[in-house]
Symmetry: D2
Subunit: 293 residues, 4 copies
């Protein structure tokens, strides 16, 4: 084959397989999103349409990659947890990280018109970068999402107060920075409440907590047994501890007959839902033991 | 800072810097593009609009990353050469590869409506993956692009003959495969000419040679000296060996006065142009010595 | 400094840090030890002096590197377990693996005259190579040592029978290979017993089980409290489950007074001992929970 | 095979192949050699026996690994250059670096009694660590050895002056440090000459320049043609530019008859010699073009 004389250049492709049996977290960040936000007049401190679009792009990653079992987003970043035992692309780092970044980016541009008001035309193609981090144990994975959740809280409280001072309080951005310099959480809550009548804890959970994406075990189990999904599963309601037993009264009976037919639920099937929940506490993980199994 | 308790999870982010002073080639591939081509009724064997869109997305990568100095595309793949001495993102592998894949993907979706006929609506967000390969020497870089160029030729000759047999010759795809089994280039050329009156060598260069993206040295030099770019620089005409001297009659004079003001041209500035040229011969590289300098 | 002009060459030294919080196993193998064994007339199938020397070299690694907490050796190989939370050399792979291989090699040559009969002069410097493997979980670490222990058993049973056939049975090595072809463990045990009167299970444990190196918790705890070590701690006797309480009657009392003064034993201190124990069962690990803590 | 149940642990062994077609430099450093020098009463500022032993250990690496073509040593460190196109152990990093470190260490201990006075008994096994660095181009390789050579010069001039001040001048080490603080090369040369009558440039080249190890092309070519090696090839004399033509008057004749029989000399055969030459200038490399070919 004429090809073979130059094919030796493939020998320079080095293996980049990740360690087996570690949790993989892919974190995606918008590149130059300060400029992007300004160019598209995103509302301050939070633009709900922009956040919803991020969530939609994240769901697209779930649709494409079953081994992605948890997503968490805030602002212009999103993190994805891949199952510990995933053999996706033989765990080749470049393949995995580029696939997910490309999928997310593609969906972000594709779904833009569905999520944005008609006058807000996409001005130029946005870019995201990404990286993979390996975590050996469940406690580190939980702490990873705690780290992002705490970051969400801190940033959002700051930004909410900052933009209240600017947009409602008439301060310049420099003045607002000075006002907030050295303040702690309590101070910011007080400024919001006393000066602007804003009770921070009543602001939308999407802003305060970020967005968590998972697959609904209820849906997955019902599908397995050919039972129509409950009409309106409320996504932000926490799933029951063993969803298969409660969701389906026939379940226990069937299980007795053919226990081998029901592999334990592993989080890779079911309806993809977006929650706005507390990721610092253990509840999220305790209610979904399959995520870290 | 409340953040710090969980911040230790960043210690799991390992360095992934590439070796300094190597040429970096990023190759992007469409994922599942057989299905994507079918879903969007791409013409066989080549869909010019689809190829033009790929070229446009590649140009967007050039717009975003000055250190990308050569691109080469065929079918649903594109390769990008990054300068040997680039310190882009401190040569962090994940940053570079995800940035380029995301930029390409984003532009592909963004520019879709500009390149496709109005009835060809994008059905779902396409995905590309990517990888980086390091090459220590210029001969390997040239051979890399020769490898892709030869691949373009072989695939295109095969596909052109195959689809002529099917679309014009009435064969099934199975029959066409059998007809072509064991044939060499000469056989395919003969089939095309004798059965279908197609002279392969007169088909569009874009199909036969793929697309090569570079920056035009002529433009870059003129811009430096504030001289309007020549109205219609013909991109596929080969640039003169030292473009600065020929393009601008004042150049030699200025050079004598302020020789320090003119750093050697390095391929990172100038108008981005798409060529359809022979990448197997040395001419392309010989005419642009700055690309591998 | 005159040095600085060339110092840029250090930029080509890439980071090679291993993932935090994984168990590290360094495995060392003799290079060309068939030839080495012949050149030094090692007894077949096992040369006790040579194995004792391997064990001594392994102990030297323990003396040099406190974070090495388990060693396991058979034939011309040795494996070393490094604590999960070790920050030895910032977990730089090359540093760790070369240090341990060099230390082992150096000790092997250094202690040769102490372990070998005087007429067995070292003919040339032996070489070992090594590699590091990361394991995220305790079960994998246990399975790693099970893998080597089962390998020890299989190899030793084979070699013992093989050399009995050759040295006592008068077969050629080719004939002995044929005799053993297709046999299972039971067959080999029977050959040994019926043909040569050898009861395999009574052969020295060092040959059948390999050598396991750990630090003695008893010693470590006594040292901490200034109490002379028990005169003759029998190394191959399994340590008690909580060695601090049983070994020292005063221990519990002191613990009540100053509980903060006693950090949990972590396996990095105490007398280094060589055991010949069953590494397939869980007992070894169950009795020393600190090793995988 | 009973082994297979646990054999999955091998899946955690990740590939660590180095990039093809790069020069590999392995640098070995003594660990804790201040203490080691004191424990063995090495002469200050240079112990010729200790340096000769380092050189002997380096030659052992050359004996073991033909692809090692240049060595350079000073003090307790040694660097080894591996040919660009070497496929040693498929260029697996751990294999290569541990093999060379182990070989060097083993030889150092093995040859100790041959190089040291009888009363200088080795007190404990010394340790070396090592790392591999990849260099894409010849200029970087030359600069690497220049970097070490300049370092040798600077360190040796400092140490020679320092120990003259202490041993002959009666200064304490603290005083000697103060005397040398802020001095440049010229100052140190003057101190040596005026205070101690030492002309630095006449001190042994081994101390001033370090040790360079190569294979002698003369020997290699003579061996190829069955001609006895010249009785006393003076290693520190520079080899002629094309050694095969000058060393053997019959050579040209033979070459005409069987040109295919003579592959170009590549530095992997011939007598291993230790030189003390200027590694900053280009002469060393110019006279041996095969080393970087």
């Amino acid at each position: 084959m004429a090809n073979s004389r130059f094919k030796y250049v493939r020998n320079f492709e080095l293996a980049d397989n990740l360690l087996p049996s570690t949790y993989l977290v892919v974190r995606i960040d918008g590149k130059g999103f300060h400029r992007f936000s300004d160019a598209h007049s995103f509302a301050k401190p939070n633009d709900k349409a922009a956040l919803d679009l991020m969530d939609r792009a994240a769901k697209r990653v779930f649709e494409e990659v079953p081994d992605v079992v948890v997503g968490f987003g805030e602002s212009d970043e999103y993190s994805f947890l891949i199952r510990k035992d995933s053999s996706l692309f033989s765990r080749r780092e470049s393949k995995i990280v580029t696939l997910i970044v490309s999928c997310f980016t593609s969906a972000y541009v594709f779904y833009w018109p569905q999520y944005m008001p008609p006058e807000r035309i996409l001005q130029y193609p946005p870019i995201f970068d990404g990286r993979i981090v390996q975590y050996p144990s469940t406690s580190q994975v939980k702490d990873y999402f705690r780290w992002r959740a705490v970051d969400t809280h801190i940033n959002n409280l700051y930004n909410t107060t900052f933009w209240a001072l600017v947009l409602q309080g008439g301060q310049t951005t420099t003045e607002a920075n000075q006002t907030l310099s050295g303040t702690v959480s309590g101070d910011k809550n007080e400024i919001l409440f006393k000066k602007f009548g804003i009770n921070y804890s009543t602001l939308p959970e999407q802003f305060r907590r970020g967005s968590t994406v998972v697959r609904s075990a209820v849906e997955a189990v019902n599908e397995t047994f050919g039972i129509p999904a409950t009409a309106n599963a409320e996504p932000s309601v926490t799933e029951p501890e063993d969803p298969r037993k409660i969701a389906n009264p026939l379940f226990g009976h069937k299980q007795k007959k053919k226990p081998r037919a029901i592999p334990p639920y592993d989080g890779t099937t079911g309806e993809i839902v977006v929650l706005h929940v507390d990721m610092v506490k253990d509840d999220f993980w305790d209610q979904r033991p399959w995520l870290l199994a």
